[in-house]
Amino acid sequence: MPGPLQDLMHMLQFGFMQHAVLAGLLASVACGIVGSLVVVNRLVFLAGGVAHAAYGGVGLAFYLGLPVLPCTVGFSLGASMLMAGVSLRYKEKADTAIGVLWAAGMAFGIILLDLTPGYNVDLMSFLFGSILAVPVQDLWLMAALDGILILVTSYFYPTLLLFSFDREFARARGLAVTLLHCLLVGMTALTVVMIIRVVGLILVIALLTIPPFMAQRRARSLARMMCMAIGWSCVFCLGGLAISYQFDITSGASIIAVASACFFCVTGLDAVRNRLRASGARS
C-alpha cells in the first residue's frame, strides 16, 4: 500500500477523525443545496450577514443562561427575516442595511459575552469551528437538517427554480414571491447556524460560495448544480482534512485553502482557455 493511502487509513482509525469526515460530508450536503440557491439568487452577502449576526444569539444565550442552539437559531431567524424584509423593501439600500445588521449582531454578541460573569467563549471557535471535536449528537442534528433541506427543496423545486430564474415573471404568474424569498432566507439562516457550530463561520461562507461557483460553470440545471456543488464540497472537505492531518495544521483553514486553490486554478484555466479560443477565432 502506498504511503499517503496508508496515512489516510491510519487517519480514519481515530473516532474523532471519523466524526470530522462525517461532519464535513453532512455539511457539504446542506451547503451544496443552500449555497447553490444563495449563489444564483445573489444572496451571498445576506448569508454572510446572517452568519455574523448569529454571534449575537450566542451572546444572548450565555448572558441569559438559555440553551445555546435554540437561542442562536431564533436570533438568526429573526435577524435574517429583518434582512429579508429590508432587502425586499429598500432594494438600493439592502447592502448597507445588511452590513449594519452584520456588524451590530456581532458587536451585540461580544458585549453580552463580556458582561457574562465567569464565562468567556472563544471567538476563534465561532469563526473557525472545531470540526475535530464534533460530538455524535451534532452529527445527528446535521443529518436531520440535511433531510429537511432535501425534502423542502425537492417539494418546492419548480417554484424555487422559477423564482430564482426570473422573479418578475414569477410574480406576474401569481407566485408568492415574498413568501419564497423569506423561505429561502430562512433556510439559509438555519443552515448557517447549524453548521457554524461544527465548522465555524468562515468555513460555512466558503462552502456556501466556492463549490456552487465551481458547479455553475458546467451545470445544465439547478438540480445538477446542487449535486455538483455537493460533490466539490465533499472533495474539499476530505482533501482539507487529509492535508490538515498530514501536516498538522488547522483543519477548517486547510479545507478552505484546498477550496481556494481549486477556485483559483479553475478560474485561471478558464481565463487561459477563453484567451486561446479568442485568439484561435481571430487567426
Binding site: T159, F165, D166, F169, A172, S221
Partner: protein
C-alpha cells in the same frame, strides 16, 4: 374582428404622491401590434404593471378582456424587462420554456410545473414559432442575446396568451438583432395582440399598427407612423439649432406621408382611439 382586448380609461398612478401617469386612456383591439415609446422614467413600466394588475392605479380603470387584470393574468403573456440578466444561470432552453406552463392558479403549496409529454410537445412548438428549432437542449447561456430573448417570448407563448406584453425586449440585443426581433414580433399570428414597450426608436421600422407615446400622459396615433409632434413628446421640444432638433426634423422627414396627414385623434391630448389597422 374588433374585439376589445385592453381598455384603460382616465388612469392615474402616483408613487408617494409624485404622479407618474395621469389621464391615460387607451383601447387596444384584437390583433393589434402596439408600440409604446417613451423616455426613461416616463411611466412605461408602470403602465405595463397596471395592465398586469401588479400595481393598482389610484384613479381610473384598467380592463383586460373586459375583466380586472388580476383575474385574467394567465391569458397575458408577459416578457419582463431584463429577463436575460441571469447570464450564468444553469438551465437549458427547454426548461425555460416549460416554466411558462406553470399552473396559474398557484399558491406556494399547490403550484405545479410538470414535465408532461404534452407540455414538452407544446414547448417544442413554441420554440418552433420563435424560430429556435433544435435548440431545446442548449444551455441558455450559450445563446446570443437575441436568441435568449426569443426563448423568453417562447416561454410567454406557453400560456396560449391572447395578449403579449413585452417590456424593453431588445435591451440586450445588438442593433442588427433588434430589427430582426421586431420583425419577428410582427410575424406572430394575427390572433395574438402584442404590446411592446421600448425607448428605442428602431421599433418604428417594424410593422406595428399603432403607436403610443408615454411621458406622464399618453398619446396614441394609429398606423405605422411617427411624426414630429410625437417625437417632440418623446424627446422634448428643441431649438432647430440644437442637434436634437435637427434629429427630430430629420427622422420625421423619413415618414413624409405622416407628417402631411395628421390623424384626427391627435386633436385631443389623450386620444383613446379605436383603430382599423389589423395585421
Amino acid at each position: 374582428m374588433s374585439e376589445e382586448i385592453l381598455s384603460i380609461s382616465d388612469l392615474r398612478f402616483a408613487y408617494n404622491g409624485t404622479p407618474v401617469l395621469e389621464d391615460v386612456s387607451l383601447t387596444v383591439n384584437r390583433g393589434n401590434y402596439l408600440a409604446v415609446l417613451g423616455p426613461n422614467g416616463g411611466g412605461k413600466t408602470t403602465l405595463i404593471k397596471c395592465i398586469l394588475g401588479l400595481l393598482t392605479p389610484q384613479q381610473g380603470s384598467v380592463r383586460v378582456f373586459g375583466e380586472s387584470p388580476d383575474r385574467v393574468r394567465h391569458r397575458i403573456g408577459y416578457v419582463p424587462q431584463y429577463a436575460t440578466a441571469q447570464e450564468a444561470f444553469p438551465i437549458c432552453v427547454l426548461d425555460v420554456v416549460l416554466m411558462g406552463a406553470m399552473n396559474t392558479a398557484s399558491t406556494l403549496f399547490t403550484s405545479t410545473w410538470r414535465r408532461t409529454r404534452a407540455n414538452v410537445e407544446k414547448a417544442r412548438h413554441a420554440l418552433h414559432m420563435v424560430g429556435l428549432d433544435g435548440h431545446d437542449q442548449d444551455n441558455l447561456r450559450d445563446l446570443s442575446g437575441g436568441q435568449r430573448q426569443r426563448v423568453i417570448v417562447a416561454r410567454a407563448l406557453m400560456g396560449d396568451p391572447d395578449l403579449l406584453l413585452l417590456d424593453e425586449p431588445t435591451a440586450n440585443i445588438d442593433p442588427q438583432g433588434k430589427f430582426c426581433f421586431y420583425e419577428f414580433l410582427g410575424s406572430l399570428p394575427g390572433t395574438i395582440t402584442t404590446i411592446v414597450v421600448s425607448h428605442d426608436l428602431s421599433i418604428t421600422a417594424s410593422p406595428f399598427t399603432g403607436i403610443a407615446i408615454v411621458n406622464r400622459s399618453l398619446r396614441y396615433a394609429p398606423g405605422n407612423t411617427l411624426n414630429e409632434e410625437l417625437l417632440a413628446m418623446l424627446y422634448g421640444t428643441h431649438e432647430p439649432t440644437c442637434p436634437m432638433g435637427t434629429f427630430i426634423s430629420t427622422v420625421s422627414g423619413m415618414f413624409p406621408a405622416i407628417a402631411d396627414v395628421q390623424p384626427p385623434e391627435m386633436e385631443s391630448d389623450n386620444a383613446s382611439a379605436g383603430r382599423e389597422g389589423h395585421r
